[in-house]
């Protein structure tokens, strides 16, 4: 029982840590890492809460959602990585151009 | 009962080799010597744990799967050690001299 809430709280921690990094980090590769970690946090909350069943068999629906989520996350990551390579090629730096330097 | 004791002894021995591998990774002075530490963990550490657990396996198939896992980790460890050492030499990481 406690395990459920422990891991759900860890999931919240991951989500917020990722969101914070997404906002403050400028490097685009780090932003992608941040999005991945936010996603892991959400998955963790889903699977932890799925274990609250009485009989000991966890709810299979969130598990199925998380499995598809993991595969979608990796394909989105691959796309995002190609996109930052393109941005780096055109602007010479792996960051979005700064508002002030325009 | 005897198998349980033998298995427990093997498992503890395996865990000690993992500890040895970790200490080696932390204490050895350069990449090449650290490779040496790493192989202690996967050859002996995981090996002893696999032997210890397979003594208690329910079937030959289950024990076979455990040994397959061990062989795969051995294969990965040996190849990666070689590749990393080759790349390190290629890049000119200095060998540690006393």
């Amino acid at each position: 029982m406690n395990t459920v809430f422990l891991y759900a709280l860890v999931g919240i921690g991951l989500f917020c840590l990722g969101l914070f990094a997404l906002i403050v980090q400028a490097h685009l590769l780090r932003k992608i890492l941040a999005i991945n970690i936010m996603g892991s946090g959400v998955f963790l909350i889903l699977v932890a809460l799925a274990r609250r069943t009485e009989g000991g068999i966890p709810d299979p629906v969130p598990h199925a959602m998380v499995i598809t989520g993991i595969v979608v996350a990796v394909s989105a990551t691959a796309l995002a990585l190609v996109m930052i390579l393109k941005v780096t090629e055109s602007s010479g730096q792996p960051e979005f151009p700064d508002e002030e330097s325009k | 009962m005897l198998t349980e004791y033998v298995s427990a002894v093997l498992l503890v021995a395996g865990a000690i080799f993992y500890l040895a591998g970790t200490i080696g990774l932390l204490r050895f002075p350069d990449v090449y010597t650290r490779l040496h530490a790493l192989t202690k963990a996967d050859n002996l550490g995981l090996g002893l744990i696999v032997i210890g657990l397979s003594l208690q396996a329910s079937s030959f198939a289950a024990a076979g799967k455990l040994f397959l896992i061990w062989l795969l980790v051995l294969l990965a460890g040996a190849s990666v050690s070689h590749l990393v050492a080759r790349a390190a030499l290629h890049k000119g990481v200095h060998l540690w001299k006393r």
Binding site: - | E4, A8, L11, V12, G14, A15, Y18, L19, G21, T22, L25, L26, V31, R34, L35, L38, A41, D42, G45, L46, I49, V50, L53, Q56, S58, A62, K65, L66, L68, I69, W70, L72, V73, L75, A76, G77, S79, V80, L83, V84, R86, A87, A88, K91, V93
Partner: protein, 86 residues
């Protein structure tokens, strides 16, 4: 026996965290990658012990996939990441 399995799994987990020091310190990228490699090997050990503790042989499959992919990231590192630097 179950307590022993869990104690050993915990012991290996502590080992794993100790190995993280090498990820932190480096100094070369290869050292960090080696630490990750040890991380993987130790995780296989943890998974096998957890499988025995919970008498759940399905976890052997997870350990099997781990051991199969143990080399993948290091190979990617040697073949891609480390050749290009400098």
């Amino acid at each position: 026996m179950q307590t022993l399995y869990f104690a050993l799994a915990l012991f290996l987990l502590l080992n794993l965290f100790a190995g993280m020091w090498r990820i932190l310190k480096g100094p070369t990228a290869a050292d960090r990658m080696l630490a990750a490699q040890l991380f993987g090997t130790t995780s296989v050990g943890v998974l096998l012990l957890l499988a025995q503790a919970s008498a759940n042989t399905v976890l052997h499959d997870v350990a099997l996939v781990f051991s199969l992919l143990a080399a993948l990231t290091s190979v990617a590192f040697v073949r891609r990441a480390w050749l290009s630097k400098e």
